[in-house]
Symmetry: C2
Subunit: 441 residues, 2 copies
């Protein structure tokens, strides 16, 4: 099997003149080059687009002014210098690849651009980060078959997976306005809760507060209303990925979700990681789609040879937890689980193509969540609902605390990295957020 | 019962110097003054905000330049002159009322502004209309209890209304990008369809294409993330209403909607009417919330004296149909049904307050659909699904054609007007759109 689109930017031996990028285990080596939106912390200045490199950020406004770039790249850098990542998302994949290659060359050890760009760097610890782009619409899918099965079992022991699951990449619309960036603090939401034996619901702070481990796909150019995207063109429209914590209030969800789906149980906040890791950076980690023997093949509009052989992505995912007590004692976060995105039943291309298959228009910067990514084993659940078996079996943490669901003060950290086949390790940085107590009623 | 906020702009005897506004049955009399976004048809110029008056549009850019306005109103008119209605939506209700009163005075017969504003008018038939504002997020509610009951009966004859219906203003997120404006043409979507007795679904053009008769509420200032809106402040955040056709593919919906709700069955397009009728214009038609004797009272966070006595809205709603054959024969559209928004089980204030009750942030220009507004009688269904009893009983049209669901070439027209208690009749204008054949596969 030959991977497509591998070029010099995937050379694992390449080093950067930004020394921290060459460190073992660094999330942001020269081969990554993810995009984010930042400004100097404590300065009320315009947001800019930057590229993470080691522990630094290459400021693309300064880079555009000081570096040497061919004319087409200058044009591409113009909106980025103004803080507009959506414009790059709207550009053809070939243009995105050209910019990546130019940035790689510019940051590579020995580049003649080093002298020009050295003061276009800002240390990440001096930066404040924002949402990387305008997210017009946010859709959440349900591609984690092990999550769907485990959660389904809690409600329907004999029939955990619904009949449509292996045919339809199930998805639903989410709330764009309440998507926030890593580092945020969220209040435990109030909601209608109804105990199974109660006559009436009460309005109270949610008790069964949970996270969900997801990836978020940022859409590239997208499609006009009424014009579906065929599988053969899907790659053109896959811009890049972030981590996504789809906070969920399980008790609110159980009472409200029939018949139209989750609503207030989910839209009080969703947290994403600040750096958009491009599909180009992840190319070495593409893998065959996993579809168990005997399962129906995808309908033709969701099928392609390229998707079968390379639609998957070998990406390690992790959830870490730091409670308030751990923080107070100076103890680090503890890992709750790990899984891998290669277990997803539907690929990124299938999510995108299905979404547009009825003519629904996708726009640059739209976010598609993958749904919770649980592994096949019981300790690989991507939510506490799964790890605690619906709240019946509390987890014991290293310091002796227990958790069935989240407690006030808990910080949830999602992490991801790709490491396979001799390629340079690519990381995502943290997606961290802290649950605060509910507001007074 | 005294209606709040009635002032001279509700005087039914007031006349405009724009003569067409004084005609009997006119949708846009002086007492209405709805906002829309327009430009001269056939001119590739900037979009502007205008106010419909009779068969004319008052161009607020020209009006800002030529009219005489006090300083606070000049400030308010500035973004409108630039085509930005969201800025007015973000303004406090008191400012919105002040602008309405000033526009009313300026357009009233005998106004000294007549000479200044006479050439700030454009005939509506010379204008092209666009979406009135940026719609950040779109949410659809389910407040039509007769719709919920009738549709529920089709699926669950013994238990049509789910247990949460009378406690939770059920809602779910919709797709903002595919909202279009009256006059649009939409292709019949493709989707996965599965016959009950088939082993597998097929991907084909939807057969059971339907409309839904809804109102859309535009949100005013809104709330910050984490800060709910109490009932006592709801009015401040209700900007105005439009008509909303929530096109639905019933066969796609039936197969895809479990367990996370409707998705591709709905997001191929939604059509709204171009003029936003403000809550101030509709004040004379507010009425008591209808809640049948014996039903549980709303939980306290959804209850208020003002909502009980004035949360409802007496607004006549209609659906009209013109088939391709009728159009070819020069026959006008035929009315399929009428109902009234006063039958809604939940009020606009309750929709808004429930949405923000978990801290979800609502933003100026967000659109909240009311759900399908059916009346209590069988011939008052707000969709063909209801009128045709799930497709089993076709309607016969005046020209002998029949319809269980929509056919290619059908134009669906939603209309609404308020007329009660001696107040001047207020109309919404048409929300019309035409279904085209599916694209070739």
């Amino acid at each position: 099997m030959t991977l497509p689109n591998l070029d010099f930017t995937h050379d694992p031996a390449a080093q950067s003149w930004v020394a921290s990028a060459n460190a073992e285990g660094c999330d942001f080596p020269l081969q990554n080059l993810p995009y984010g939106r930042f400004r100097r912390a404590g300065h009320n200045e315009d947001w800019r687009i930057g590229v993470a490199i080691g522990d630094q950020i290459l400021d693309l406004r300064r880079a555009a002014e000081r570096g040497r770039w061919e004319t087409p790249l200058q044009v591409l850098l113009q909106p980025l210098a103004q803080g507009d990542l959506n414009a790059l998302m709207a550009a053809p994949k070939a243009a995105r690849v050209a910019l990546r290659q130019a940035l790689f060359r510019a940051l590579q050890a020995g580049s003649p651009q080093q002298a020009l760009l050295a003061d276009a760097l800002l240390a990440q610890h001096e930066a404040e980060l924002a949402l990387p782009c305008r997210i017009g619409d946010y859709t959440d899918f349900y591609t984690g078959i092990h999550h769907a099965t485990t959660v389904g079992k809690l409600f329907r022991p004999d029939n955990p997976l619904l009949p449509n699951y292996k045919w339809v990449p199930i998805g639903y619309h989410g709330r764009a306005s309440s998507i926030g960036i890593s580092g945020q603090q969220l209040h435990r939401p109030w909601g209608q809760l109804k105990a199974p034996d109660a006559d009436a619901p009460v309005f109270a702070p949610a008790k069964r507060l949970d996270y969900e481990l997801e990836l978020g796909l940022f859409v590239g150019p997208g499609n006009a209303l009424g014009e579906p995207i065929p599988m053969a063109q899907a790659d053109e429209h896959l811009f890049g990925l972030c981590l996504l914590n789809d906070w969920s209030a399980r008790d609110v969800q159980a009472w409200e979700y029939q018949p139209l789906g989750p609503f207030l149980a989910k839209n009080f906040g969703s947290t994403i990681s600040p750096w958009v890791v491009t599909m180009e950076a992840l190319a070495p980690f593409r893998c065959a789609q996993q579809r168990p023997e005997g399962d129906p093949p995808p309908l033709p509009y969701l099928d392609s040879e390229a998707n079968r052989s390379l639609g998957g992505l070998d990406l390690e995912l992790e959830v870490w937890l730091q409670t308030a007590a751990m923080r107070a004692a100076g103890e680090p976060a503890t890992r709750l689980m790990r899984s891998n995105f290669r277990h997803a039943y539907w690929t990124l291309a299938q999510m995108l193509v299905h979404h547009a298959s009825n003519g629904c228009n996708l726009q640059p910067g739209d976010l598609l969540g993958t749904g919770t990514q649980s592994g096949p084993a019981a300790d690989e659940g991507g939510s506490l609902l799964e790890l605690s078996q619906g709240g019946k079996q509390a987890l014991t943490l290293p310091n002796g605390e227990t958790r069935s669901f989240l407690q006030d003060g808990d910080t949830v950290i999602l992490r991801a990295h790709a490491q396979a086949g001799g390629a340079r390790r690519i990381g995502f940085g943290d997606c961290a957020a802290t649950l605060l107590a509910a507001r007074a009623g």
